[in-house]
Amino acid sequence: MSQQFLPDNPLPQEAKVPEEIARFSPAVEAEIDGHLAKYPPERRRSAMLPLMFIVQRERGWLDKPGVAYIANRLGVRITDVWETATFYSMIYTKPAGKYHVQICKTLSCKIMGAGNITEHCAQRLGIKPGETSADGKFTLSEVECLGSCGTAPMLQVGFDFHENLTTEKVDEILDACARGDYKFAVKVR
């Protein structure tokens, strides 16, 4: 035991923050109840993904109170929620921008130049894949195959597909987003 390295001034004991649980409006609660009703009571945890989308929609991302809420509602532990949340690229475990630009990096897209598209986006937005821009508008990420190999390269904004990309096309999309007049074709759940 290397007691010799103990710092001279021990750090103060951190105050324990009580576990917060998110609260939602009755309308949202009713929506959640609707999802829960689809599954038998002992299989409640099957409603994990719909709940995650709702919490994310209401709170922007899966923050600590949100995770605690889901764990509480489904009778699972927060690590279970964490495990599921980190698996999916469309569930945010840290604050995400309004426009989530997801560029496919799997084989077909890669062959058709997804690397260039990513580089272009990164340069334009000034962020690396996996980061969120300072103004909180954009989140850039590289994702696995989105099932649009025939029209590679492609990217997804929210749930909208943009296919057969060129740098010009990407610029158009990003400009629309930056201006704020980008219309989501698929409604964010």
């Binding site: 035991m1 690590t79 279970d80 964490w82 980190t86 698996f87």
Partner: protein, 763 residues
């Protein structure tokens, strides 16, 4: 008898039971099948793809861990094709595995290292950069290096299935999957079983981190000294210092498998702690200081004082108190000392409650932990096994989760095991006796249900479940029962009657490692309880000889009267509240420094073996007693050998008849003491007593509704556990330190005041 089927493995035909797993059958017959993720008794994972075999008529190579044997199956475990596939798998595993074996604590006992070493000549074709993540801490006990992970998920399965905690999970996906927790900090019971089952150096013991190498350690198989489960563990010692305790099956194969709780695994630093009493101490005058003395002086001084007191006041001026923490040998020596040297019956052991009523009326055998694992119905009355007897808790949980047992819990507190219970019956505090009354018969259902605060129908349901049980039915009970209730519960198998296909087993839940042994030796069915004996202080009692320390509940409030005694002799490891009253203190050897036996709550007599020589001048307790006896001109005849003491125990104690150390040497086949079974007894008197007791009981329906926090008992810093510097941190709420890259021990200091306040405010 299960059907036998024929399986052909590598051209040899073997008979095996239907439903056997292929990997087990292969290994049983000496066909080595490599694997990482397969772990018998855990849910299947089949993620390491190492156990591939070729089965005829199946199109591809199959994972043998997921295949159940069928009749006529023809299996090949060794071929060029299989080896090629396996080599490719290892190559993939090593694609992101760092080559830092010299630094990794697992080096030398790492399964991945061994597999690569055995095969040799593995080529590594990945020239890309490996995933990098810094080594970090998940808790004060668990160190984590995510890069070394091969994603076998044994840790997550153990955490879920053994501990029911789900504290550790795999997050992320693909090559970026990491083992971790929600916000990077583990708030669990810190059992460390994830460390034990990890095949690589991903999860490591933070208390032993970077201290030694496994091949440098002398491994000694011994019995844990904390709770009454008696887990078998292996102490790794190096030059007289115990470095770690593990239950890895390469070193030890006991009742607990690879399971240990936080205390067994991490609470060993007390053995070489600097506060250990180093020499005998004598307080020459009342109110003076304890002064170091030589052994000869201390023994001579004590003997002279004892002789003087004996001459002046007679034999009954002495009281002798053994301890449920000591070995059977130590307690037997004390008993012999009381009877033969002093000539008094004033002896007892400082246990929290006596199991005597249970053993006197025992009408069914004690359940071993294996019995609990395969039981069909489990009734738990009171107690909190997952905090106080963690192995029993784990076995109950596995019986329910993996064995489909029906668990019924009667408790006034919603304990954690309730998640597994088929029926959790929330009773009013202090009414555990009424449960026994209800189980014994239907006559008192109204009364019992009223006092318990439950519906009478619930009680009938439980009785029906007991009635319908096919297979083993285990009755577990905690410390809350009164003597009459304990006796009635012990007779319950007789009261309910025998039936074909149903077997009753009893399992008491005492607190200490040798509570059952202390009872067996005869210290607990003495005429006086500890409290009664201590109350005699000043009224005839002039001298006390205490091995170990008195429990706080016995000591508090009696300090003044005890100070009036002429002589108090104490054998202890550390200076405690009891040694503060002592006139003579002998330094005793801990469980790691002595040979002996402990008897666990399943009645199994298990060996304690010397791992290191006694530290400083300590001596084993029985040796001190024998030395004192010879100073008083009585020769016990077992000066230097614990086995001689045990032989004498075997001759004098009926339950231990015929036992010898060589018979106890195999920890994988523990020997159960032969406790005498009482036949059917007339329990009307006892039942009447319980009924009267319940009727006069003032019950409150204020039941705790919150499940107690994990570790509220486990983390309590006691005399021994507080010597592990991590325990106070855990008890202070296990705060997450500012950075997880450095051990929390170097970052957070729990000062004496904070510890005192948390203990005082503790549950």
């Amino acid at each position: 008898m299960a059907d036998l089927i024929k399986v052909t493995i590598n051209g040899n035909v073997y008979e095996t039971e239907k439903g056997a797993r292929l990997i087990d059958v292969c290994r049983e017959h000496g066909h080595a099948v490599p694997s990482f993720c397969y772990y018998s008794d855990l849910a299947l994972q089949a993620s390491c793809r190492m156990c591939l075999v070729r089965i005829e008529k199946m199109p591809k190579l199959q994972t043998s861990c997921t295949i159940t044997c069928t009749d006529g199956m023809i299996v090949t475990t060794e071929s060029e094709e299989i080896e090629k596939a396996q080599r490719a798998m290892v190559e993939f595993l090593l694609a992101n595995h760092p080559l830092d074996c010299p630094v990794c604590d697992r080096g030398g006992e790492c399964e991945l290292q061994e597999m690569v070493f055995d095969w040799g000549g593995l080529e590594e074709r990945f020239s890309e950069r490996k995933n990098y993540a810094p080594e970090k801490f998940l808790s004060p006990m668990v160190a984590n290096d995510p890069q070394r992970c091969i994603l076998c998920k044994r840790c997550t399965r153990v955490c879920d299935e053994w501990m029911g905690e789900d504290a550790i999970e795999a997050g992320g996906r693909g090559a970026h999957t990491v083992i971790g927790t929600y916000d990077g900090w583990l708030n669990c019971s810190e059992c460390g079983n994830c460390i034990e089952v990890c095949p690589t150096g991903t999860l490591l013991d933070a208390t032993y981190r970077h201290q030694a190498r496994p091949w440098e350690l002398a491994q000694t198989i011994t019995t844990c000294t904390f709770c009454s489960d008696g887990c078998q563990l292996s102490l790794g010692a190096r030059v007289g210092e115990v470095m770690r305790a593990v239950a890895r099956d390469r070193y030890v194969d006991g009742i607990n498998g690879e399971f240990l709780c936080i205390k067994g695994r991490f609470a060993h630093p007390f053995i070489n702690h600097e506060e250990r009493i180093r020499t005998p101490l004598i307080r020459y005058k009342q109110g003076g200081r304890l002064v170091p003395a030589t052994w000869d002086d201390a023994i001579g001084y004590t003997a002279a004082r004892m002789r003087a007191i004996g001459e002046a006041h007679g034999a009954d001026a002495f009281g002798i108190i053994g301890s449920p923490r000591l070995t059977n040998e130590a307690n037997y020596a004390l008993l012999k000392f009381a009877r033969e040297v002093i000539g008094t019956e004033n002896f007892t052991a400082s246990d929290a409650f006596s199991l005597a009523p249970c053993f006197e009326n025992l009408s069914a055998p004690l359940a071993t932990h294996r019995d609990i694992r395969f039981a069909k119905t489990i009734i738990l009355v009171g107690g909190e096994p997952e905090e106080l007897q963690p192995l029993t808790g784990k076995q109950i949980r596995q019986a329910v989760r993996n064995g489909g047992a029906r668990l019924v819990i009667f408790n006034s507190v919603p304990i954690r095991l309730k998640e597994q219970a088929a029926q959790f019956i929330h009773i009013n505090p202090g009414t555990e006796d009424a449960v026994v009354l209800a189980l014994a018969g239907a006559n008192d259902d109204e009364l019992a249900a009223g006092k318990l605060g439950v519906e009478a129908k619930t009680l009938a349901d439980v009785r029906r479940a007991l009635d319908e049980t096919q297979g083993d039915c285990v009755l577990l009970f905690g410390s809350e029962l009164s003597a009459a209730a304990m006796a009635t519960l012990a007779q319950l198998p007789q009261l309910l009657g025998a039936r074909e296909g149903r077997r009753f087993l009893l399992h008491p839940l005492p607190f200490y490692n040798n509570s059952v042994g202390a009872h067996d030796i005869g210290l607990m069915n003495a005429k006086l309880s500890v409290a009664q004996l201590l109350d005699q202080a000043g009224q005839g009692l002039r001298a006390l000889y205490i091995a170990g320390s008195l429990l706080p509940e016995h000591l508090r409030g009696r300090e003044e009267t005890l100070r009036q005694l002429d002589l108090i002799v104490v054998q202890e490891l550390f200076e405690t509240e009891t040694t503060a009253l002592a006139d003579v203190v002998f330094p005793a050897a801990s469980f790691a420094e002595t040979d002996g036996t402990f008897t666990n709550n399943a009645g199994q007599v298990q060996r304690v073996r010397q791992s290191i020589p006694p530290v400083h001048q300590a001596r084993p307790d029985w040796m001190i007693t024998a030395a004192l006896a010879s100073a008083l001109n009585a020769d016990f005849g077992f000066q230097l050998s614990a086995s001689a003491v045990f032989r004498e125990i075997a001759e004098h104690i009926a339950a231990y008849e015929g036992l010898r150390y060589p018979l106890l040497k195999d920890e994988s086949r523990p020997v159960q003491a032969k406790h005498a079974l009482a036949g059917a007894r007339d329990m009307t008197g006892a039942i009447q007593e319980i009924r009267a007791r319940i009727q006069s009981m003032n019950v409150t329906s204020a039941r705790p509704t919150e499940t107690p926090k994990v570790g509220h008992e486990l983390f309590k810093p006691g005399t021994l556990t507080s010597k592990t510097p991590q325990f106070p941190l855990l008890y202070a709420g296990n705060p997450k330190p500012p950075t997880v890259l450095v051990s929390p021990l170097y970052q957070i200091t729990v000062d004496a005041n904070l510890r005192a306040t948390t203990v005082a405010a503790g549950d």
